[in-house]
């Protein structure tokens, strides 16, 4: 399965709009300027995504996962390296962090951030397709790339994932996160077809 440059651009734009809405909310909560960007999009096999993430983010990851349903169904993931997630929480709550483990407090903070971002993104996607995408409550999953991205072993390695790199700029600190939307292949085809129609509509074909 592949994705054309135009499709990529469109997805980027859609999600940029989505995270834009999320950043407004985060700004209010954190009391400081928050800038979220989506510079990179691709479709990748889950197994390959795992290898890539392992290389760049290290062995310990934190992920907020949220199931969604509606015209599209699957799981959305907001992923950070463990250090990034702790930094993120530290920046948002203004607290010094315990070295060893993340407390319930910080778990909730991460879940809340994930919830805001994922809800906003999915709302934007829904708007564009004039359909509602329902979401369940977010859950925090920590561990290795394999554990986290396969949702604790529930997903097969060959599942395609629409994967976006996301940048978090908070109070002049830069953090990196990843957005992943796990859909089955058929649904991705539909999504892309839908995007093509949309684009055609936009440029008045």
């Amino acid at each position: 399965m592949s994705i054309t440059a135009e499709q990529k651009d469109l997805i980027k734009e859609i999600f940029n709009t989505g995270v834009g809405a999320a950043s407004a909310t985060l700004e209010e909560m954190a009391g400081t300027e928050v800038l979220l960007t989506v510079p990179y999009v691709d479709i990748i096999r889950l197994g390959d995504l795992i290898s890539e993430i392992k290389k760049s983010e290290g062995p310990s990851l934190s992920a907020i996962t949220q199931n969604y349903s509606g015209p599209f169904e699957g799981t959305a993931i907001l992923l950070y390296s463990e250090t990034s997630s702790l930094k993120l929480v530290q920046l948002l709550t203004g607290t010094a962090l315990p070295v060893e483990r993340i407390s319930e407090f910080e778990e909730d903070a991460l879940c809340e951030v994930g919830n805001i971002v994922l809800n906003a993104c999915l709302a934007t996607v829904g708007n564009i397709f004039k359909a509602e995408i329902e979401t369940e409550l977010p859950k925090l999953l920590t561990g290795s790339a394999e554990k986290v991205l396969t949702l604790n072993g529930k997903l097969p390695m060959d599942r395609p994932v629409i994967f976006l790199k996301m940048g978090f700029n908070l109070a002049t600190r830069e953090l990196r996160g990843y957005l992943g939307f796990i859909l089955d292949a058929a649904k991705i085809e539909e999504l892309l077809k839908g995007m093509d129609i949309l684009r055609a509509g936009l440029i008045g074909e």
């Binding site: 009391g31 909730d108 903070a109 329902e134």
Partner: protein
């Protein structure tokens, strides 16, 4: 609306009333359909009073985010989690109750579900987080306090776990080891002990004894390889998981020990020097007697008989030997003298080399050790000649010991001028000094010679002498043989007067 009430029948309501957090259910138009016991208790409003009314009316201080989330749930089925990690999301349930108690710490979960034909309802779940928050704050304060205490302690402090990995380490210790404390957490303590065997002994001692061990001297190794001598006190306790934890405090005594060694060194040197001076003095007298009597014998014998060439030759040999002994005694006196306070004088390098060789070349010749001197052009070096000779003597003596038993026995002395320095090297035909010994070479009392031979004082004293001349003394790693080099500035006028006034160390 009543249809909805029927859907959420009496049984469900009973169950909802038993739940230990708040459940509010509103319809699409935000009308309250369920208001459980918890909410009623915490708000002071009974469910009968609120059922059917709009949520906004009943709780008119709802936060923007809460409202937006309820909308998102009702319109598009989004679930939202509002935790207290950030600024509180006031869901003021105590409006009607006492003003002093506000439910500050709440976790609010907003979801929606489609119920039968009646459409979507929004379920709002509220939990009281306050005791969690208090506990978290308490833990955080306790941890901050502990961290501060460890950071402030001015002695060395390190806590090791049962596997001798570093559990905690304070700033003072980390800086002594020339590292950052975050870099060494959970790493093996073994890497910081200079000698592996010493670490094993240390470990064995701590694991064998349960009581506190005081004043344990341990040689540590900083991250840049330098030695640090510390005096440690070790105590232990059992952690909650029944693991033995070692709490080690102490101080850095490297400086103390070094100055003690230096003092010892000078004491030894001066007693050796005294001994040499005494011996020289003792020998001088009998030697003078021999010299005198030989002279008399020669004159007497000549009067009595015709002395052929052989006799003359024999007397010459005796006289030369006596002179040699005399020179050696003078040389020995000079060599053993403490010349720290001599004035610097411009001296010929070849003269110093020759003077030194004069005292030992017989011995070298006897053992078939060849000495080669490479000095293309003699030059002057401003120095304390006695001390330079002492250094050369030390190196020659070491060279002798090193190659005495080798098949190839040769010593090469080379000296040259390079810009404004004198470079003098002494190499022997040995194969060089092994790596593991190299960094201990210049230590006082370090010696690889068998006991009885050599005191191990030579190289460190030689180093001290050359350094007091403003120069450097080192082992030449590039040479395939054993080669030591003296680098001394040609002019040391500045230092000339200093030593005399005793301002130098």
């Amino acid at each position: 609306m009543s249809k909805l009430s029927n859907t959420l029948n009496a049984t469900s309501n009973t169950i909802l009333d038993l739940i230990a957090h708040g459940i509010i259910i509103v319809t699409k138009d935000q009308k309250i359909v369920t208001w459980n016991r918890w909410v009623a208790d915490h708000s002071g409003l009974d469910s009968e009073k609120v059922i059917g009314r709009k949520l906004g009316e009943v709780l008119n201080n709802l936060n923007k985010r809460v409202l937006a989330s309820i909308d998102a749930a009702l319109i598009s089925g989004k679930s939202t989690l509002l935790s207290q990690s950030f600024n509180p999301h006031p869901f003021p349930l105590y409006r009607n109750v006492s003003d002093t108690k506000t439910l500050m710490h709440q976790k609010v979960v907003i979801q929606s579900k489609v119920l039968g034909a009646q459409g979507r309802v929004c379920i709002i779940e509220i939990s009281d987080y306050s005791s969690n928050v208090e506990r978290e704050l308490f833990i955080s304060h306790a941890k901050t306090y502990l961290d501060k205490v460890i950071e402030t302690a001015q002695d060395i402090l390190v806590v090791l776990n049962q596997q001798f990995k570093i559990n905690s380490i304070n700033a003072v210790f980390a800086s002594i080891l020339k590292t950052a404390h975050s870099a060494v957490l959970y790493s093996d303590f073994k890497q910081f002990v200079f000698d592996g065997d010493e670490f094993e002994k240390f470990r064995a001692l701590l694991t064998a004894r349960q009581e506190t061990i005081r004043d344990l001297e341990v040689t540590l190794k900083a991250t840049d390889g330098t030695k640090v001598l510390v005096l440690l006190t070790c105590a232990q306790f059992k952690s909650l998981e029944d693991e033995t934890m070692y709490v080690i405090t102490g101080k850095d005594i490297t400086q103390e020990v070094e100055s003690k060694l230096r003092l010892l060194q000078s004491a030894k040197m001066s007693s050796l020097g005294e001994m040499a001076a005494n011996i020289a003095h003792e020998i001088k007298n009998p030697l003078a007697i021999v010299s005198g009597r030989v002279g008399l014998l020669k004159v007497g014998l000549k009067k009595l008989m015709e002395l052929d060439d052989k006799f003359d030759k024999n007397f010459e040999i005796i006289e030369n030997s006596v002179n040699r002994i005399s020179k050696i005694i003078s040389g020995l006196s000079a060599l053993s003298r403490n010349a720290d306070f001599d004035i610097m004088e411009k001296t010929s390098v070849s003269q110093m080399i020759n003077q030194t060789l004069a005292l030992c070349q017989e011995r070298f010749k006897y053992h078939a050790i060849g000495i080669v001197v490479n000095l293309s052009e003699d030059f002057q070096l401003e120095c304390r000649p006695t001390q330079i000779c002492q250094v050369l003597m030390n190196l020659l003596s070491n060279a002798f010991d090193a190659i005495e038993a080798l098949p190839e026995k040769r010593i090469v002395i080379d000296a040259k001028k390079l810009s404004n320095k004198a470079i003098i090297g002494i190499a022997d035909s040995g194969s060089g000094i092994p790596e593991q010994v190299l960094d201990r070479l210049m230590e006082p009392f370090f010696s690889t010679k068998s006991s009885g031979k050599g005191t191990g004082l030579g190289l460190s004293v030689s180093k001290g002498i050359i350094e007091s001349h403003g120069g450097s003394f080192y082992y030449d790693k590039e040479s395939k043989n054993t080669r030591f080099v003296l680098e001394i500035p040609l002019e040391n006028a500045g230092k000339a007067g200093q030593k005399n006034r005793g301002t130098e160390k």
